[in-house]
């Protein structure tokens, strides 16, 4: 009489007709939402890869490329922070890995075979090339390093941090401290890294002359294409079971552990993926901006990187990318007229968003729709089988 398969009485609600009708197809409405997102990515790809190059001047397009690099970092931040709950305040570190790997390669390529970089000659014309620079003569090694270095660093660091269950503010402080330390390290080793002046004056990019606008446009297209690819990666992750588990870990880590999973591994995957995206963004930033210096990777820069994600909506698919593009645009157009003014505007916007739409600008339409919806049919949003219980309770 009471076997586990005897599921009929009394748990199948009889009165809940509105939901009964919707129950017929077994597929969930999530499926269609995924498709909508995919179409969104398609539209974004068309805008970035076809429309923007057609309508923007060389200069503007190059700027957009720069924002796209920051946006790549932001997409990773959306994954690690928005979905994974890790407040990655120091993504400048991974941005730096890719950027400096690329910058070293371009510097050496510009100097020519067997020559040492110009800035080193200024200090000591006879000094040999530092050992760690040598492999970056190879373009293949450089590309490998752009992906491999963040995997190694984020992998070991993340493993140590997450296995020890370091979380929340401690994690945030730790990651920010790393970015600050790295910026200082680079700033203080001028003979090895170019110091605070940074590395610049690149003439070639894998054999392509950087003074030719066509080549710059090609680099833009690569960047925009990779940004779309990053979006596709997180789109797939978000709809996968891994994505669900990541959100579960963010919201109740101990509970996840008690279901037999190891939260450290789940977080590690998201953290490393975000690091790789930041590194690729950094690598492409170099030929586009023409310079990389500690200013682009330290505390303020790292906060700028995460601000885009916060502004746009960290947990949404499109929030971080749109937020970062917008902030990037705001930053350069404001600082064209008002040096450093953007930082005040940024701070103000940050406060406004935090107060008015803590989940980011991207969440505003959804919130508005939810509000309207609940105004229109107030009964629908309540669990149907709860009505009986509600009446007796209060």
């Amino acid at each position: 009489m009471s076997t586990p398969t005897d599921v009929e009485s009394p748990f199948l609600p009889v009165a809940a007709t509105p939901t009964d009708r919707r129950r017929l197809p077994r597929s969930s409405p999530r499926l269609s939402r995924d498709t909508v997102s995919l179409i969104g990515i398609g539209v974004f790809a068309v805008l970035m890869l076809l429309v923007a190059p057609a309508v923007l001047s060389d200069f503007r397009l190059n700027n957009l490329g720069k924002y796209a690099c920051w946006a790549m970092v932001a997409v990773g931040i959306g994954l690690a922070w928005g979905r994974g709950g890790m407040l990655v305040l120091g993504q400048g570190v991974y941005f730096a890995l890719g950027a400096y790997a690329m910058a070293m390669h371009l510097t050496l390529e510009t100097a020519g075979p067997d020559a040492i970089p110009v800035f080193m000659i200024l200090y000591d014309p006879l000094a040999p090339l530092p050992g760690f620079w040598e492999p970056f003569r190879s373009g293949a090694f450089t590309l490998l390093a752009v992906v491999g270095a963040p995997v190694l660093l984020a992998g070991t660091l993340g493993y140590a941090i997450f296995k020890r269950r370091v979380k929340g503010a401690y994690f945030a402080i730790l990651s920010q401290a790393l970015a600050v330390a790295l910026a200082y390290l680079i700033g203080g080793t001028i003979k090895l890294t170019g110091g605070d002046t940074g590395l610049s004056d690149f003439k070639y990019f894998f054999g392509y002359d950087l003074s030719d606008p066509i080549n710059k446009r090609m680099i833009y297209s690569i960047t925009a294409g990779l940004l779309v690819l990053c979006l596709l990666v997180v789109w797939q992750l978000y709809r996968s079971r891994f994505g669900e588990l990541l959100v579960a870990t963010r919201d109740a880590e101990e509970r996840v552990r008690f279901l037999g999973h190891d939260p450290a591994n789940i977080k590690l995957v998201a953290y490393v993926t975000a690091a790789v995206m930041a590194s690729i963004g950094g690598a492409l930033f170099v030929p586009i901006a023409g310079i990389i210096s500690p200013k682009e990777i330290g505390a303020a820069a790292s906060i700028f990187l995460i601000a885009g994600a916060a502004f746009g909506g960290r947990a949404t698919l499109f929030g971080p990318v749109l937020g970062a593009l917008l902030l990037g645009y705001g930053r350069s157009s404001l600082s064209e007229q008002w040096e450093n003014g953007w930082i005040y505007v940024l701070a103000l916007m940050f406060i406004l968003v935090t107060l008015l739409a803590p989940e980011g600008v991207a969440s505003i339409p959804r919130r508005a729709a939810g509000l309207l919806g609940s105004l229109r049919r107030p009964t629908e949003s309540r669990p149907p089988r709860n009505t009986a219980a509600k009446e007796t309770k209060s």
């Binding site: 129950r23 079971r241 891994f242 588990l245 919201d251 109740a252 008690f258 669990p383 709860n386």
Partner: protein
């Protein structure tokens, strides 16, 4: 109706820096029997479950099959088929009912499979969803569920995990009468093939649904037996200082 599966606890002691939250506890939980753990606040009920599920360290023995639960880690215990709920419901609020249940069944999935989206609903998830009566709320975020529904969802997650032993810590606290009755019937339906242990303060609920009751007091087993045995037990009445058992239990 009693099966062969059981958890046999012998001489369990949990020592928090000199304070013994459990002391020499002997108790046996049998399959097919809804076993209630009662006792005043701080009696050590939750600690007992914590010790049996690897959350705190205990000495003694807790035999389940050929395992000693006291020597295993939480995730090993969970994988061995011993599940629990917590005093405060912990469902994943932003995930839907379906996603919550699906995650509970995810331990045995391959890493690569995790990177794919779910195709359809696994049978065991559908079955658990129907058993706990949440099938119609499948796509609802767990955060908007009523308190009782969250508790059912947790039980559903244990079903998906195929937990053969379930420890339910104050599951019906805060539920309405209807919800309590439904929970009681739910437990009755899933009990035959499982070992179910319920921590509870509400004596009405205990009376209506208990097959067997163990009373804990100050970390020790004070008495055990049927509801009638317990209520008539002079030692129980003595410890409750002459007051009605129900008054004390509700504190």
């Amino acid at each position: 109706m009693t099966g062969q599966d059981y958890v046999e606890v012998q001489g369990l002691t949990v020592d928090f820096d000199g304070f013994k939250a459990n002391e020499e506890v002997d108790v046996t939980f049998l399959q097919g029997r809804i076993h209630f753990l009662i006792g005043p606040n701080g009696a050590g009920k939750t600690t007992l479950v914590d010790a049996l599920t690897g959350l705190v360290k205990g000495t003694g023995r807790a035999r389940y099959g050929n395992l000693d639960l006291l020597s295993l880690k939480s995730h090993q215990i969970s994988r061995a088929g011993v599940g629990r709920t917590f005093q405060t419901a912990t469902v994943f609020e932003e995930l839907s009912v379906l996603q919550n249940l699906d995650i509970a069944g995810g331990v045995h999935r391959k890493a690569w499979g995790m990177l794919r989206a779910r195709k359809g609903i696994p049978d065991y998830v559908q079955e658990a969803m129907e058993t706990v009566g949440l099938a119609d709320l499948r796509d609802r975020p767990a955060g908007v569920l009523a308190h009782g529904q969250k508790q059912w969802l947790e039980i559903g997650m244990l079903l998906v995990q195929d937990a053969k032993v379930m420890f339910l810590d104050e599951t019906v606290a805060g539920m309405s009468h209807e919800e309590r009755d439904e929970t009681g019937e739910l437990l009755r339906r899933i009990a035959p093939s499982r070992t179910i242990v319920v921590i509870e303060h509400d004596m009405d609920f205990v009376r209506n649904h208990a097959d067997f009751v163990t009373v804990l007091h100050a970390g020790k087993v004070l008495a055990e037996g049927s509801v009638a045995d317990i209520q008539g037990n002079p030692r129980v009445q003595e410890v409750y200082l002459g007051r009605n058992i129900e008054e004390v239990s509700h504190e």
